[in-house]
């Protein structure tokens, strides 16, 4: 952490008070070798960053047996994240407390296992927007690496994704190991991947990383998971772009960016027609992403850009077949067309997708800042009413 502070001091002249913790930066530990066994070798020297993960609720499970559990049983979770890197490799160790080891070893049918995933954007750096952290978006593919508590390592998989429903398996380039410490009731998961290959180039001073955890005991799976906002890996051996550091650091914990009270007024007058909030549910379910706990997993910069330039980051809608249009013309086989209200973008004149949300570029900067400050305060993990 000391290095992070020095670094920020170098960028901004003197370290501002909010930078002391730098809670969005994971300091990478350089070592000759990246161990695949957790808590050995260089892992013991690396400084952990405590990351809070919030329930992602954009996608509600269809599962009647467990929805009530998901609604009530799980709050935010914390994980200790360490990064070790060598000349060729980058390792991430994720450790989190879990009272139950939901490991799938035998024939199971209505049981689900614990799992953890890391995610890197394929394109990042100054001038490129941060992707939607959930699974990327139409213009921002991400590489997702997931390991599942299963005796069969073939359940550890790697994907490229560009939004909901787009997870596409690719050849694995990451070594994975998930170990349960029964005494401490704690999972340790290690990912070791090439620093640079045909999928990702992570040879950069500041690399965005996404993180998700699934609690198999309450049947979390897929889009129902605990999700952290983008965190950033500092690799001291690689050059840092100070502009990018400043760009992603805007509004991070402790740094005041606006007045949430004023922001709430804006949200509750201008956003509620389409977006649902925990305490404001006039918008029809599913016509726009729910914002019940958006502040838990979206970084301030992402929120700011989404307000000002919604078409910069376009989410694929959830499966558009979930709602069909009963007033629409049925095909010869009786199928109703999908209801168009549930798509979130339309093709523009140039064929590129345009968000259905109008840009709020006309809002004064102070209003946008206040709005983002408010959105960052919404982290209610237990409200799901807006999810579709």
């Amino acid at each position: 952490m000391i290095r992070a502070i020095c670094l920020l001091a170098a960028v901004f002249g003197a370290a501002p008070a909010w930078a002391e913790a730098a809670p969005h930066i994971i300091e990478g530990e350089f070592a000759a070798k990246v161990p695949t066994e957790p808590e050995t070798g260089a892992w013991t020297k690396a400084t952990p960053l405590t990351v809070t993960l919030y329930r992602q609720r954009t996608v509600r499970l269809r599962d009647k047996d467990v929805n009530h559990k998901l609604d009530t049983e799980l709050g935010p979770r914390t994980a200790a994240v360490k990064v070790v890197y060598s000349k060729k490799q980058l390792g991430v160790q994720v450790s989190w407390d879990d009272a139950t080891q939901d490991q799938l070893e035998h024939a199971y049918h209505d049981a689900f296992g614990d799992a953890v995933a890391i995610e890197f954007p394929q394109k990042y750096g100054m001038g490129e927007s941060l992707p939607y952290v959930g699974m990327g978006d139409i213009d921002h593919p991400v590489v997702v690496t997931i390991q599942r508590a299963h005796k069969d390592a073939s359940h550890n998989r790697q994907f490229v994704a560009a939004g909901f429903g787009s997870l596409t398996a690719i050849e694995r380039d990451t070594e994975m190991k998930m170990t349960y410490d029964a005494a401490a009731k704690r999972w340790h998961a290690v990912f070791v991947r090439p620093l640079k290959d045909h999928n990702l180039d992570l040879t950069h001073g500041l690399v965005p990383m996404g993180l998700a955890i699934w609690e198999g005991g309450v049947h979390e799976r897929g889009g129902n998971k605990a999700l952290a906002p983008w965190r950033f890996i500092r690799l001291g051996k690689h050059k840092l772009d100070p502009d990018y550091l400043a760009y992603v650091s805007w509004g991070e914990d402790g740094q005041p960016i606006g007045d949430p009270k004023k922001g709430e007024t804006i949200a509750k007058t201008q956003c509620i027609a389409c977006h649902r909030f925990a305490d404001q549910q006039v918008a029809p379910v599913g016509i726009a992403p729910g914002l019940e706990n958006i502040g838990g997993y979206a970084v301030a910069r992402y929120l700011q850009e989404s307000v000002q330039e919604p078409s910069k980051v376009i989410l694929r809608p959830l499966n558009p077949n979930r709602h069909y249009d009963k007033s629409g013309k049925r095909d010869p086989h009786g199928a109703y067309p999908n209801a168009v209200a549930y798509t979130w973008s339309v093709p523009g004149a140039d064929g590129k997708h345009m968000s259905k949300m109008p840009p709020f570029a006309h809002l004064p900067a102070d209003d946008v800042n206040n709005l983002v400050a408010y959105l960052k305060t919404i982290k209610d993990p237990l409200n799901t009413k807006g999810a579709q």
Binding site: V59, L61, R62, D63, K64, D65, N67, L104, A107, Y108, H109, D110, Q122, K123, Y124, G125, M126, G127, P141, H155, V160, A161, A162, F164, G165, S166, L167, T168, A169, I170, K196, H198, N199, D201, T203, G205, R221, G222, G223, K239, L240, D241, P242, D243, Y244, L318, N319, N321, R322, H323, Y324, D325, K326, D331, P332, H333, G334, A335, Y336, A339
Partner: protein, 351 residues
């Protein structure tokens, strides 16, 4: 959703519950590799809880406005029943026949139980496969868009490369005809024997049916038998149409059977052995008209007149029940995989 649609009509008045369809499907597709407990085709006795147990009360489908409903995942032991075996080898040496488990439910547990007391009891058989719906709820529920409907014939399939084993499809299917393969951690279902269809052969369950109850063809072909039964004569009805998925397997409902008997054993005129209301709860409001039509055509036939409807249902030649000669080899699904691009790091002028 699809350009063409294959359909199957099953005449329940001819089903004898022999399970040959079940066995032909099982030996072809589900006797191995994590599918052992699955019956893509099953024949259940109605009234009854069916397979999986109580599937009609496990949610799924669409609501009246076309929004996908929530549903349950049947449990392995209590819903499907765990497959068990017997000690046949030991029996040969004098042991008593014992199952190797203590089963309390299975795919045909309540065979021939039905409802009512002798002599006024009743039951009929209901063979079930995937309905290859026009608005498939399984397809709608999948977060990974791993389920698709083929343009060429409307067959609904799971893309196992995209399936992540979330089992949302199982909650969504109102017929509970999609199953979780615990070995592969993926969902699997009746594939309407598409590799056979593509070679001009009917699904195994239909070809092996000794009762000749299954008629297969393209619903969009107005000359096809399935089209005539469904649209022209309206005697073939979908199962639980209220689930809103527009199923493409249709049933000729069972005739009500002989009248009930009174205490003296005399027939009660006008009594319903199989209550019409029960049949309507399964096949919707078209049951009365369908049964009336069937009875009228049977009367015509008794008078020696021609009846195209009865000719189709009698099925003089088995091979003529299958009109799939113009089935095509299907192309790959139109689910666009995300292509991996070149990794790029932007900016960094000051690097």
């Amino acid at each position: 959703m699809s350009k063409r649609q294959l359909a199957m009509v099953m005449d329940l008045n001819k089903c004898i519950g022999c399970q040959t369809c079940t066995v032909s499907c099982k030996t072809q597709w589900t006797n191995r590799n994590g599918r052992e407990y699955m019956y893509w085709n099953n024949v259940e006795t109605k009234p009854g809880a069916g397979y999986p147990k109580g599937w009609e009360n496990l949610g799924g489908g669409f609501d009246k406005d076309g929004n996908l409903n929530e549903g349950n995942i049947p449990s392995r032991a209590g819903g499907y029943g765990v497959p068990w075996d017997y000690n046949h080898d030991e029996v040969m040496l004098g042991a008593t026949l014992e199952p190797n488990a203590k089963p309390d439910w299975g795919p045909n547990w309540e065979e021939d139980v039905g409802e009512g007391d002798f002599p006024n009891s009743h039951y009929f058989y209901l063979p079930r496969i995937c309905n290859h719906c026009s608005n498939p709820a399984c397809l709608a529920a999948c977060n990974n868009q791993a389920i698709f409907k083929r343009e060429e014939d409307g067959i609904v399939l799971v893309d196992l490369d995209r399936c992540q084993g979330e089992r949302q499809c199982i909650t969504a299917c109102p017929y509970k005809k999609i199953y979780f393969n615990p070995k592969l951690s993926k969902s699997e279902k009746c594939i309407f024997c598409f590799p056979r269809i593509e070679r001009g052969l009917p699904p195994a369950c239909a070809e092996q049916c000794v009762g000749r109850i299954r008629i297969v063809g393209f619903l969009d072909d107005e000359e096809s038998k399935v089209h005539k039964l469904v649209h022209k004569y309206k005697v073939a009805l979908p199962l639980h149409p209220e689930a809103g998925t527009q199923p493409n397997v249709y049933y000729v409902p069972p005739l009500p059977g002989p009248p009930k008997l009174d205490a003296e054993g005399a027939p009660i005129e006008g009594s319903e052995r199989i209550p019409l209301a029960y049949l309507e709860s399964l096949f919707g409001p078209g049951v009365r008209d369908a049964l009336d039509r069937l009875k009228a055509e049977m009367e015509r036939r008794k008078r020696g007149e021609k009846s195209e409807l009865l000719d189709i249902l009698i099925a003089y030649k088995h091979e003529e029940m299958f009109e799939i000669a113009d089935a095509k080899l299907a192309t790959q699904p139109k689910i666009e995989p995300v292509m991996i691009g070149e990794p790029r790091v932007y900016g960094g002028k000051k690097r």
